[in-house]
């Protein structure tokens, strides 16, 4: 690859003219091709967070239970009993558009490695997916490929996929979002970090061989799509979940010894980012001999090896006296193991290949002089108030339309393709509760896990939407009886060089930060995906939140399945907010008004009350009222329990359609046996509560007296997605 290194090549590699000038300044000469490659990926948006870092600092990241916040491969929280939960969510948006199956599959593989590289056995996968207009064939092809990819990888590695969410909107037509989350469990005192230490210590490469796949993937993920996006297919990596499974077992076996000094997976920007970050964090130098790198293709150049994003690879700094112990473990699992370098005291990364020094870069300036942008922002204008919206169709017709619309219909078609039970610890599977419940093997404890975001709220008001995403994750965990502990965030936005996009980002962060503080729900890890635009059209701002909570006793959790002979009570105030609601979009055909406000004090008060009542054993089922409002919440509970319900009229002062379909926040629908006691307890706690109806039978009886059989509701709910996808 004899290419002249100059500013124009730097531009092709994604560096600006100013950034290239800084490279020249640091190097004091024209960089080699390999060196330019290293700078371009390390300074890409994907690796450097150059546009987002100034804003991410506003997020709260500490709490007494936080062991490690952002900065390592994943966040770590104390979950009691000497155990830690390690988790993170990460995007694979751009690859999943170009090649849906492999893009999604390697997204799962990458986030798994981020978690087990820290010493945790992965125990659960979740995801947050956004697709375009489902009427388009391209969208259906993307959905099919992404779902197969997530299943193909997760099912094979044997980590249950226990939860997730899916939204549809035309803004994702050319830019689907695939955000994958992994949660693992480790002893709290056995967390492995990436900072290299010990001059002379061997640097070891393990896992799959290196090929030419994914070269410049991180750069591709840091640019908008144009009409040539199909040509970028070669930048997508190819996953091998079988090798990943072996790598998990081999790494965990090695981690049970005292051989590891530092370890990091080779994710975006592969060997470059892992070696640069490990050495940089440890304040040491590193020498790499690329001739020793296991290769699956012949004639690879230094540039190609340093930039390859071949999957299922890890870089480890070992104690020299434990090298043979480690080698034997990887031999047992039939994985490549190669000493490819050692640590030095030079503070430089030196890469040699066939006796030639291909790169020699000082590490400190590479990190410290990485670009950092305070990009201009423009605030999103406040949406005009919605005003009165008349009900054009009535409750029954609106319910049926909403129940079968893409954003609310049953996701069983998707879940049924994910192994949700492997491991034997899944207490509440997808759709059974507001958060998935996964018990910790050999313990009574369980994790409550969810992913949440409502992009249409974020589009209308990014600050309110950011707060709402965090609040909904907190609420979904609370609705199972679990105590919310921390979140991981996956910030998916458009082109940050546009002030209105950067304004969305900044406002979403402000809203999230306020909610995190009010709810004691800090951010411990995360990922930023920008440039989610195709031909200049950005996605809806989508700050996806992955939430984690803990239950001291898995048996105390509740699901959403409605039991018979219960009273339905809504906790939280209902004013009938229809702005940005699904009713407004699907029934009235409008996408306007402000999103529902999030009153964080009320959110906290209502949730703490609900959790207390669940743990006291006074709640038989619980479901938060969110998309689609109260009536959808009740119907989802009825379908999950296969038990009908009869509903009372809306209280005076709120129009019936606004009461049943409004999306006021901070609300939970509870099924209880003693309604009076619950209403009194709520009053005593200063929490609004209202009786909605009673459960029983096999029909839903609306306040109008109209009756719809559960069978009919189920057919509408469950057939929508399969018929969309052609079975």
């Amino acid at each position: 690859m004899a290419r002249d290194v100059n500013e124009s090549l730097a531009r092709v590699f994604g560096l600006s003219a100013e950034e290239y000038a800084r490279v020249l300044d640091i190097m004091g000469r024209t960089p080699s091709l390999t060196e330019l490659g290293v700078f371009s990926v390390m300074w890409s948006e994907h690796c450097s967070y150059k546009s987002s870092r100034v804003w991410l600092k506003l997020l709260p990241t500490t709490a007494p239970w936080v062991i490690l916040g952002p900065g390592e491969n994943a966040g770590v929280v104390d979950i009691g009993d000497g155990l830690a939960a390690i988790f993170k969510m990460e995007s694979h948006n751009h690859p999943s558009f170009i090649e849906p199956y492999q893009g999604a599959a390697t997204g799962v593989g990458g986030i798994l490695r981020d978690v087990f590289t820290m010493g945790a056995r992965p125990v659960a996968n979740l995801n947050a997916l956004r697709f375009g207009d489902p009427a388009l064939p391209r969208t259906r092809r993307t959905i099919d490929g992404v779902v197969r990819g997530i299943g193909g990888y997760g099912n094979c590695v044997g980590v249950p996929t226990v939860g997730g969410e899916i939204n549809f909107h035309p803004s994702y037509n050319g830019n689907p979002l695939v955000n994958a989350m992994t949660v693992g469990i480790a002893p709290a005192d056995r967390i492995f970090l990436s900072a290299a230490a010990g001059v002379g210590n061997p640097v070891v490469y393990v896992g799959s061989k290196t090929g030419r796949d994914g070269i410049h993937g991180a750069t591709m993920a840091s640019a908008e799509f144009g009409q040539d996006s199909e040509e970028k297919r070669p930048t997508v990596q190819v996953g091998d979940p079988f090798v990943e499974k072996l790598l998990i077992e081999a790494c965990l076996e090695l981690m049970a010894t005292d051989a590891i000094v530092a370890i990091q997976d080779m994710g975006a920007a592969g060997l470059t980012s892992s070696s640069v970050e490990m050495a940089g964090k440890g304040d040491v130098g590193i020498v790499l001999d690329l001739d020793a790198v296991p290769q699956r293709e012949t004639g690879m150049s230094a540039y190609e090896m340093m930039l390859s994003e071949s999957q299922e690879r890890m870089l480890i700094v070992l104690r020299p006296d434990r090298q043979e112990v480690a080698r034997a473990i990887f031999a047992k699992w039939e994985l490549d193991f190669a000493v490819i370098g050692h640590l030095t005291d030079t503070g430089r990364i030196v890469v040699t290949h066939r006796g030639v020094v291909e790169a020699d870069i000082p590490l400190a300036p590479l990190a410290e002089q990485a670009p950092l942008y305070h990009r201009p922002t423009v605030d999103t204008p406040q949406p005009a108030p919605l005003g009165e919206v008349a009900d054009p169709v009535g409750l029954e017709a609106a319910l049926l339309r909403l129940l079968g619309c893409p954003d609310l219909c049953s996701r069983a078609w998707v879940w049924d393709q994910y192994d949700s039970t492997v491991g034997g610890q899944t207490v509440r599977r997808p759709g059974a509760a507001d958060a998935a419940i996964v018990r910790i093997e050999g313990s009574r404890r369980a994790l409550a896990l969810t992913t949440d975001c409502t992009p249409r709220y974020c589009q209308a008001d990014p600050e309110a939407g950011g707060a709402q995403a965090v609040a909904e994750a907190w609420r979904n965990i609370t609705a199972t009886g679990a105590t919310p502990l921390a979140i991981t965030d996956n910030m998916n936005f458009g082109n940050p060089e546009k002030p209105e996009i950067m304004g969305q980002f900044a406002a979403a962060i402000r809203g999230m930060a306020a909610a995190c503080v009010a709810l004691d729900f800090p951010v411990v890890s995360g990922n930023v995906s920008l440039y989610n635009e195709t031909e200049g059209r950005p996605i809806l701002p989508t700050p996806a939140i992955g939430g984690l909570g803990v239950l001291a006793d898995a048996a105390a959790s509740v699901g959403l399945a409605l039991p018979r002979d219960c009273c339905l009570i809504v906790i939280g105030a209902t004013v009938g907010h229809l702005g940005q609601s699904l009713w407004l979009r699907e029934v009235a055909g409008r996408e306007d008004g402000p999103p529902p406000p999030v009153d964080l004090a009320a959110e906290r008060r209502n949730g703490d009350f609900v959790r207390r009542e669940i743990l006291a054993g006074r709640v038989r089922a619980c479901h938060d009222a969110s998309d689609g409002g109260l009536l959808l919440a009740v119907v989802e509970m009825a379908l999950a329990g296969d038990v009908g319900a009869g509903l009372l009229p809306a209280p005076g002062g709120v129009a019936s359609h606004a009461f049943w379909f409004g999306e006021d926040q901070g609300r939970y629908v509870l099924a209880v046996q003693d309604a009076l006691a619950m209403l009194q307890a709520a009053a005593a706690a200063g929490v609004p509560a209202l009786l909605l109806g009673v459960s029983g039978g096999k029909d839903l009886t609306l306040p109008t007296g109209d009756t719809i059989s559960l069978a009919r509701l189920r057919a509408v709910h469950e057939q929508a997605l399969p018929s969309l996808m052609g079975g």
Binding site: R148, G158, K245, D416, V422, V427, R439
Partner: protein, 230 residues
């Protein structure tokens, strides 16, 4: 009951199986690495679910050629008990210890859901804690569970009473709707002629604890532990 779980690279339900076996037998099973060739002393050899060797060839085809398979065949020849679940069932058919083959699901999609199984005979060491004709719930999770054999083989299996479990409705009816993967004659599990080898696609080991939604799978392991008690 001395049980051993065979661990091929890529197997992923060995932990689930170990939990179910320990709950039934009162002690941990032995984990058998795929290079081992001596299974002496084991009453029960279990081949659990997963993706042995990645299953990049036909499911189970690589595992059927692995070093431990000779010992498993010898164990079968000695009249030892063998339980193959999911990938384990696929491996047993590839190794010729059970007839037929497991093809891609008829829908060509991975299927992860609960199914209902009918106990076709209860006079075996595996099913003795179920009632004959009982219907029980079991999770299943596979892409290749569509049992296939030629008609003559199917007739013989039926005639000799070697069908262990069938996919049925909750009420016990054999219907196409209950047979999600498209298996011939709704067959979910099969016995060897001596009734000592059982292969089945669903995962009763994942339903042995009320917390996970039920204990429908527990009688299978309790029955084995009782039958094989020293």
């Amino acid at each position: 009951m001395k049980a051993g779980i065979v661990v091929f690279p890529g197997i992923n339900r060995e932990r689930d199986m170990a939990i179910a076996l320990e709950a039934a037998a009162g002690h941990k099973p032995r984990m058998v690495w795929h290079h081992e060739t001596d299974l002496a002393g084991l009453d029960l050899v279990v081949i659990p679910g997963g993706f042995s060797y990645g299953d990049y060839l036909r499911c189970g085809a690589m595992a059927a050629q692995s070093p431990v398979m000779g010992a498993i065949r010898a164990h079968a020849a000695r009249g030892g008990h063998i339980l193959g679940v999911c990938n384990g069932f696929q491996i047993l058919t590839e190794a010729g210890l059970l007839p037929g083959a497991l093809l891609r699901n008829a829908s060509l999609r991975f299927l992860s859901m609960d199914c209902w199984l009918r106990v076709e005979r209860a006079d075996t060491d595996f099913a003795r804690h179920y009632q004959p004709g009982a219907v029980f719930r079991s999770p299943m999770a596979h892409g290749d569970g569509n049992y296939f054999a030629d008609d003559a083989t199917l007739d013989r299996l039926e005639g000799e009473g070697l069908v262990a479990f069938r996919y049925v409705t909750q009420e016990g009816a054999v219907t196409p709707e209950a047979n999600r993967n498209g298996s011939a004659r709704n067959i979910a599990g099969l016995y060897s002629p001596n009734l000592r080898v059982l292969g089945l696609m669903p995962h009763p080991e994942d339903l042995v604890d009320p917390l996970m939604g039920g204990t429908d799978g527990k009688p299978l392991f309790d029955g084995l532990a009782a039958a094989l008690a020293a």
